[in-house]
Amino acid sequence: MILRTILSIILLAAINATAQKEATALINAKVFPVNSEPIENGALVIQNGKIIFVGKADELKGSFENIIDVSGKVILPGLVDTHSHIGEGDGGDRSSTTHPDVRILDAIDPNSDTFKKAIAGGITTVNVMPGSGHLMSGQTVYLKLRSNSKTIEDMLFCEDPLNDICGGLKMANGTNSLREPPFTGTRGKSAAVIRQLFIKAVEYKNQIDRAAGDPEKMPARNIEMEALLEVLDGRRIVQHHTHRADDIITVIRLSKEFGFKVVLHHVSEGWKVAEEIAEANVPCSIIMIDSPGGKLEAVNLIYKTGAVLEEAGVDVAYHTDDGITDSRFFLRSAAFGVRAGMSYNKSIEALTLAGARMLGLEDRVGSLEKGKDADFIILSGDPLSLYTRVEQTWVEGEKVFDINDLESRKYSLGGYEVYRGDYQYLHNCGGEE
């Protein structure tokens, strides 16, 4: 008995020796696990950056060093933004219309205040994309908005940017990529260029297969082809900008021809072809904006796209497309979805778990489940209410935003010399949305 006590003391001491080793219990909030029904008087217990318990507060057993009473508050998983341009990075440049080799992670500034805006809006996981000004503008990057990230490596989801797949592949069709020669000037040509590129990638893959591991027979390394190989293998997801109904169908046609995994982004006219999207089993990441238009293909954008897609059985997520909408107002997307007929639960899921699925990260984020990353937000009330504020944002067990902390708060409100403000994504060359 004594030995056991001593052992536990030693063990405890060992646990306390490193930060975050002791469990923290947040109790008495309304908890939205998202993968199951909301829990009144719920509890969330985290340890070592992971979730170790989600359930009713009164079912919580044992005592905890850190107990935070969050009565009257609401806890959601950290929000997942499937399409954003924060970080001041860029992608494909004007030298070509296809850049499968270009990684946006080589161009992002981890100190950008746009990340601070995002955590003020409750976003913890974000897919940062190059623009849609080209057919294939480059590799996207999946980031975790961890505190004190000094380098892009500190923010990556992947372990090793030299060997791992750290994001998706941004593609676009429709009018954004239509330009004067040498770029593509028509939709038919755009599709042909993409098909030719994928045919080349299939040949590259065949060469590798034929080599059967013999270094002598391997093709020369080609980083464009290597990225496309990952796409063909289903390890890198195509994140595809598309608005008009016929453009949506073109994406589906290409994805079937080459068998790549794809997420449709924006999908302004998705409501016209919801059945076709459902049949192809392709998920949609949509944007909720205040008014339609701004360009021809967004003229028929309507509030009820999410509702129509949900009804058809399509997996729906939201994105900010920040600078198009501001990360600080991401919750508002879900409220507008409900306004236009989307179900409450699906709308919450569209901010969290659905987005995680579309990035292939659902094993780690998107819901509050035992074993997942301790990424969550504390809200002052109903997630869909105008009056609700993101009060705290936690990433992997660490609080990265607290509205009561003045330094954090200013990024949520704005004001004199808070933001650099010299960065405006939508007018960048090739950066149209």
């Binding site: 904006i289 205040d290 008014s291 339609p292 238009g293 701004g294 360009k295 021809l296 967004a298 003229v299 509030y303 600078g323 198009i324 501001d326 107002f329 508002r332 409220a335 507008f336 409900v338 306004r339 869909l384 209410s385 105008l386 009056y387 949520s412 409100l413 704005g414 004001g415 004199y416 010399e417 808070v418 933001y419 650099r420 403000g421 010299d422 960065y423 405006q424 939508l426 007018h427 149209e432 949305e433």
Partner: protein
Amino acid sequence: MKIILTFILAVIVCFNSGLSQIAVKGETIYTMSGDPIEKGVVLINKGKIEKVGRQSDVQIPEGYEIVEGKVITPGFIDARTVVGLSGIYNYRHDQDQLEKSDAIQPELRAVDAYNKDEKLVDFLLSLGITTIHTGHGPGALASGQTMIAKTYSESYNDYVVDSLTMIAFTLGNTVRSNYTKPGTRSKGVAMLRSEFLKAQEYLKKQNSKDEKERPKRDLKLETLSKVLNGDVRALFTVNRAVDIMAALRLADEFGFKPVLDGVAEGYLLLDELKVRKLEIIIHPTMVRTYGDTKNASLETPKTFYEAGIPFSLQSGYESYVPKTRVVLFEAAIAHSYGLPFNEALASITINPAKLLGIDESVGSLEEGKFADIVVFDGNPFEYTSHVCKVIVKGKIVKDECF
């Protein structure tokens, strides 16, 4: 012939009478003149508001169509937009808000470019915006004129409320990004001073007793002289504090009282703005924080309110997606960031009505005013509430919850 005429007359009479007598009942009616009325009713007759009061006090005459909703507000007024000149497609052919051939062109009339059938105008109407102050946009030292329009119209004769409301001026970085001249802030101010000096001269000659002394008509100088003699107000889009002060300096030099638009850094100049009792249209609350509005704060409406400075809100100008903002949503965000409910509503109803000089006819629910009314199924500012009916001049023009 006579029969046909009588028939047409009869149809017109039926058409009007059939639509013009309505009783709008609401759990809460925000009249914007006095306290909200619980369980209230607004009687509409012949396009105007006949009576407003509690349901227990107001007898609904027989034959009135009954409309019911949770919350009733006046039709909203957008204090500053470019919709109608700036269209939904964002192609050259539907973008008439900014002429780039010269940085000073106050003579450009809004009525010559306003497209009443523009889709965005109807879109705004479906969210309860019944009156807009629209016209030439920000971005030029003097981009042109503004006008007031109704967002619902049935002909080319019925939508203009005021054809020349203000002249739109802009100071700041946005100007130099649109023109090679001016290339700096100071040059922009100098260019405007030169034009105003010419206009002073023009005005002097125009008032000359000797007919030979009078100048040939010059549209530009004629328009600027209207600002100088107080016939038309100058609307200055100024967001940085330095630009706000430059506008006030210009106004002092040439003796006019500007309406300030944007004012993103106005929180640095509260005393100055208050002392001068200036009319102010604050930028859209959710304006993007870059360029001249990089220092915008979500709490600016609250700050102005607490400082006792009245203001209106606006949708402003959007260059891309979304192509317009919606004042209802901008007021909602202002409210959620500390502006009291009633003040947020005032910023898109009675305040802009007063600012635009149309408060005799719109901006509040009072006897004798036009029956511009919005019916909601909940708190107007909640994202999940809907605009269920929009009534313009006594006619139900939107009848589906949106």
